[in-house]
């Protein structure tokens, strides 16, 4: 619809690398006035890097950068602002303790001649702006008292009404409820009519197809497709994102993989109608001994909250956990551990003691089994040595401070601490994220070995490969609800992404 006019923003042959790794390779990108441009691609495909270049966050790159046909170089985000470019980042960047009105006018509150803030005018104008957006809140409410979805809408509203000509939205819908998404889309369409150009990044391909005019697909730092939204489909976009053919070095899971017949072994954990405010809705499932249950979903889908509830770190609003037939309400993580539940969270920093030696990291969870009052350091070291040997942790020195180990080896230590007296249920969050291929394979083999030893294992991940490589049965979590179960059927990355 806007093909006739010349682009407001044009990038030619953009290449950007971080420490020798190319994040973008010769990318061309054009944005026309009054266009909503959708961007899709897997994590690390280069979408965010490109947007950060446009928003002036990354200033070192090669290639041409043209605004209104004139070559430009931003030296900071302030330059981008001055050129009429604004970006809403995925993480909320609001001030929860300030009022709604203050947040809307953050940084440019209306003042009188003495420099004092004109509160009444600010509240009135904020209210007007927000009601144009379909948000009906008292502008003098503390922002933090509002639901997260509404906070996000207010942040988006602030940027949309800041007068920017180009607005970049990074995953704006992940925390929004369906009616809130509708409101956002209605506003985006209205702004498009007024000539604002919008870049819309999202994992939710349906959302992209519904609101955008053009879609660009990224893969491995390259632009692999650009089409009119009306002329494509979710399936075609997923195919372009993943890519067929021998491009990937690893097993790419593009072909169908057969999930085994569901196991009928003992039910170790039964989760019954678990809900947690806006994060989780009515979650019910079972985990069985000797089975790896994969739970896949996009970032912010509620995985993190679910794993914390299973380990007694968060308390659900409603719902029950039944461990081996006994209903449990975990008062603390200590209670969960005693009931035979173990958790390896996604962040190793949260899980390990970086200033303590490896053997203390491994023995911490089992100290009450190997010693009553007095410590038995020799035994601790023996146990740690055995684990280090079995899991091939490098370097194999149990007295070394944990901080000296590489990320992959730290992850192995995080697993090792639960393995001397294996739990009944092991919950793993992103077990292979950020690891090199070798370490990934090691971890996958460890998990498979634990499965044959009869543990019930739950793997939660936002990376399809992780879930596909490990799970016997897969649940898909979407915006806090379980939407699909894969079992005893063919599965591929396409099918998994299609369901999410």
């Amino acid at each position: 619809m806007s093909e006739g006019r010349s682009p407001i923003l044009e990038l030619q042959g953009i290449t950007k690398s971080f420490g020798g790794v190319e994040a973008l390779r010769g990318v061309d990108f054009a944005l026309h006035p009054g266009e909503i441009h959708g961007l899709v691609g897997e994590n690390g495909a280069g979408k965010s890097t490109l947007m950060k270049i446009i928003a002036g966050v990354h200033t070192e790159f090669s290639g041409h950068f043209l605004i209104d046909g004139a070559e430009t170089r931003f030296r900071s985000t302030r330059d981008a602002h001055a050129a009429g470019i604004a970006m809403v980042h995925q993480e909320l960047s609001v001030a929860p303790d300030l009022t709604v009105a203050e947040n809307v006018f953050l940084g440019n509150q209306p003042t009188n001649r003495l420099g004092l803030v004109q509160w009444r005018r600010m509240a009135r104008e904020a209210g007007e702006q927000l009601s144009r957006f379909g948000i009906d809140v008292d502008p003098m409410t503390r922002l933090g008292d509002l639901p997260i979805g509404l906070q996000q809408l207010i942040e988006i509203a602030r940027v949309l009404f800041s007068g920017a000509r180009i607005v970049i939205l990074d995953e704006p819908t992940s925390a929004l409820s369906p009616p809130e998404v509708e409101r956002l889309f209605a506003t985006l369409r209205r702004l498009r009519e007024q000539g604002t150009s919008i870049v819309f990044i999202s994992h939710f391909i349906e959302d992209i197809l519904r609101v955008s005019d053009t879609v660009t697909v990224f893969r491995n730092g390259r632009k692999v497709a650009e089409t009119a939204s009306a002329a494509t489909s979710k399936g075609a976009l997923i195919e372009a994102m993943i890519g067929r053919g021998g491009e990937a070095l690893e097993h790419s899971y593009t072909d169908d993989l057969m999930l085994p017949r569901p196991s009928d072994s003992q039910i170790v954990l039964k989760v019954d109608q678990l809900s947690l405010s806006r994060s989780l809705k009515d979650i019910s499932f079972e985990a069985r001994a000797g089975e790896v249950l994969g739970i896949y979903g996009f970032m912010g889908c509620g995985q993190q909250e679910l794993s914390r509830i299973l380990f007694g770190k968060l308390k659900p609003d409603t719902g029950a956990l039944v461990v081996e037939g006994t209903p449990k309400t975990f008062a603390s993580t200590a209670a969960a551990r005693r009931a035979g539940v173990a958790l390896v969270p996604e962040s190793r920093r949260d899980m390990l003691f970086h200033q303590e030696p490896v053997y203390k990291n491994i023995s911490i969870s089992i100290l009450d089994r190997i010693s009553s009052l007095l410590l038995k350091p020799a035994q601790e070291r023996d146990i740690a040595k055995r684990q280090v040997e079995q899991l091939q942790i490098r370097p194999p020195v149990v007295g070394l401070d944990l901080g000296m180990l590489s990320g992959g080896n730290q992850q192995k230590v995080a697993l090792a601490k639960w393995l001397t007296y294996p739990p009944k249920l092991l919950v793993l969050c992103e077990p292979t994220r950020g690891m090199d291929v070798g370490a990934k394979n090691d971890v996958i083999n460890i998990v498979r070995d634990l499965r044959t030893r009869g543990l019930a294992i739950i793997v939660l991940s936002t990376e399809p490969e992780t879930v596909l490589s490990l799970a016997d049965r897969i649940l898909v979590l979407k915006r806090g609800a379980l939407v699909r179960e894969f079992k005893n059927e063919p599965i591929s990355k396409d099918r998994l992404l299609e369901a999410a």
Partner: protein, 341 residues
């Protein structure tokens, strides 16, 4: 390119320097102690004598007893501001339960000595428990919780003595606080035993390990399935009981029990622990550090009396030394983090 050269530079630096850097926390207080001792020995002939060493030991004993419990608290990255008040109220309580001379105008409840001691210890344990519950169950930051407890304990003290002074305490307390055996004051022996006990608990017991782990990374301790609240609660009670014991012996040592008697011990105890090099961020340090810190403070206080300095200036000097120690404390933490990266 630049990251490669940085890496090479770091590899060159590996060797003795990182070890020294990581030990900065332990080395710096020790050097401070040696420097101060040498300075006063040079400045005053009466400083470096065996008699004066005995004086220093006796002078730091009450602080030392209180600092044992405080070390546990600070290792957990918490703070206890109620230590001096709890010491005061426990000392007053043990006198309150002892028969006083007729001229002491306190409506007290005389009990047998053993019962009086037991009740007093129960009192300080109870106050510590209130601290523990406020911190763990309600979630009040320890700084605020113990600030409130400081007032509460001072209030109980005021109600018990009502502005009067009591002199008598049970004979066991009198002996331990002011007696001596073979020329060594009992209070020094008690302090030494308690410091040793604290060290053994921290180094060789499961509980001690938990204290270090909770202080080192509380999140990780929780993800390891430790009962973090129980451990935090326990250290608050330990701190209160150590303070109580310090208070009872202190009353016997000073020869009287009265309001505001222990006020200076709050800062002294915190200073001893921190000057010794125990990290305010938790997880690093220990009783060994506290002992060095006690000697630094003891030598400083005692030494300033031996040289001819305006007594009002001494307060300022003490403050400056404390500041210097805090700077080193924070700096050592940063060096360590750098070494770990």
């Amino acid at each position: 390119m630049s990251s490669e050269t940085a890496l090479a530079a770091e590899q060159r630096a590996r060797g003795l320097t990182p070890f020294l850097r990581s030990q900065m926390r332990n080395i710096a207080p020790f050097l401070t102690l040696i420097f101060l001792s040498a300075f006063f020995a040079f400045a005053s002939p009466s400083f470096a004598t065996l008699d004066n060493l005995g004086n220093i030991l006796t002078q730091v004993s009450v602080t030392g007893i209180i600092a044992v419990g405080l070390t546990f608290v600070i290792l957990c990255a918490e703070i206890d501001l109620s230590i001096a008040s709890i010491a005061n109220v426990t000392g007053i309580a043990v006198a309150y339960f002892t028969l006083q001379e007729s001229y002491v105008n306190i409506a007290n409840i005389p009990l047998p000595g053993a019962v009086a001691i037991l009740l007093s210890i129960l009192l300080c344990a109870l106050l510590g428990l209130v601290n523990a519950l406020g911190l763990t169950l309600i979630g009040i930051p320890s700084f605020i919780m113990t600030l409130a407890m400081m007032q509460i304990a001072a209030g109980i003290s005021a109600l018990l003595v009502r502005g009067q002074i009591a002199y008598k305490v049970p004979s066991l307390i009198t002996t331990l606080g002011s007696g001596s055996i073979g020329g060594i004051p009992w209070i020094v022996i008690v302090a030494a035993i308690m410091l040793l006990g604290g060290h053994l608990v921290l180094t060789y017991t499961r509980f001690g390990r938990y204290v270090y782990m909770v202080g080192g990374n509380r999140e990780a301790a929780e993800y390891s399935g430790l009962n973090v609240k129980l451990i935090l609660g326990a250290v608050m009670v330990i701190s209160a009981v150590c303070s109580g014991i310090g208070g009872m012996l202190g009353v016997a040592h000073f020869g009287s029990a009265q309001q505001n008697e222990f006020d200076t011990y709050l800062l002294d105890s915190i200073a001893a622990v921190v000057v010794g090099g125990t990290s305010l961020f938790g997880g690093r340090g220990g009783i060994g550090n506290t002992i060095v810190g006690l000697f630094v403070l003891g030598v400083l206080n005692n030494g300033l009396d031996h040289v001819n300095i305006d007594s009002f200036l001494k307060i300022l000097i003490r403050g400056l030394i404390l500041l210097a120690a805090l700077v080193i404390n924070v700096y050592a933490q940063r060096l360590r983090e750098k070494a770990a990266e």
